[in-house]
């Protein structure tokens, strides 16, 4: 009964490879997010989708491409991986418009680029 799930939990890959991270939420929310948490624990939003429409697109290299096939899923594809992409990536979801806007986070995907 996991609310927000991500796969894989760990991802180790070589520089230059392409990889994807998948996220699914079963909370019935209409908004999903991708965050990056670096080695200093700093948490920064990358993208947000509302009803499959991109609404937040921060200054992120275009090697990162989110895709939302439906409201319950938001995937992140990363091309030509670089050392600096090593981080923990969190998916989150919320219900747009609610006054409290609680964002529910997944368990994270630890990406290590060698």
């Amino acid at each position: 009964d996991t609310a927000v799930s991500q796969t894989p939990k760990y991802l180790v890959t070589q520089m230059g490879n392409d990889k994807s991270i998948k996220c699914e939420q079963n909370l019935g929310h209409d908004t999903m997010y991708w965050y990056k948490q670096d080695s200093k624990k700093f948490l920064k939003i990358m993208f947000s989708y509302n009803n499959k429409e991109l609404i937040i697109n921060e200054t992120v290299p275009n090697r990162f491409s989110p895709k939302s096939p439906d409201k319950a899923h938001l995937n992140l594809h990363i091309n030509s991986l670089e050392l600096g992409d090593s981080a923990v990536y969190f998916c989150a979801s919320s219900q747009w418009g609610e006054s409290t806007d609680t964002q529910y986070f997944g368990p994270g995907t630890r990406l290590t680029v060698l």
Binding site: V4, T31, K40, K41, F42, L43, K44, I45, S48, I55, I56, F90, A92, S94, W96, S99, T100, D101, T102, Q103, Y104, F105, G106, P107, G108
Partner: protein
């Protein structure tokens, strides 16, 4: 650039003591101020949140104090317990419901 400044970076408190973490924001348009708690290897989870029309909110041992004129808010953890040891993030919500997070405070509560 919209920022949320959080301090201290780390905090050590004895069991039973009070933990205080402070945040300051810049944008007066922010309308929602949550605190998230993150344990090692886990995702952040909402702990408590406040809107700018109130000055204080209390939930159990956790209290947010909010000072709109100073653009500051703080988290107080009363009777701190070893189980409270975690990283705490303040955040502020801006346009498009975007949360801007502070840099985090690593809290260690000693037994």
């Amino acid at each position: 650039q919209q920022q949320v400044k959080q301090s201290p970076q780390s905090l050590i408190v004895q069991k039973g003591g009070i933990s205080i973490i402070n945040c300051a924001y810049e944008n007066t348009a922010f309308d929602y101020f949550p605190w998230y708690q993150q344990f090692p290897g886990k995702g952040p989870a909402l702990l408590i949140a406040i809107r700018p029309d109130v000055s204080e909110k209390k939930e159990g041992r956790f209290t947010i104090s909010f000072n709109k004129s100073a653009k500051q808010f703080s988290l107080h953890i009363m009777d701190s317990q070893p189980g409270d040891s975690a990283t705490y993030f303040c955040a502020s919500r801006g346009s498009s419901y975007k949360l801007i997070f502070g840099s985090g405070t690593r809290l260690l509560v000693r037994p």
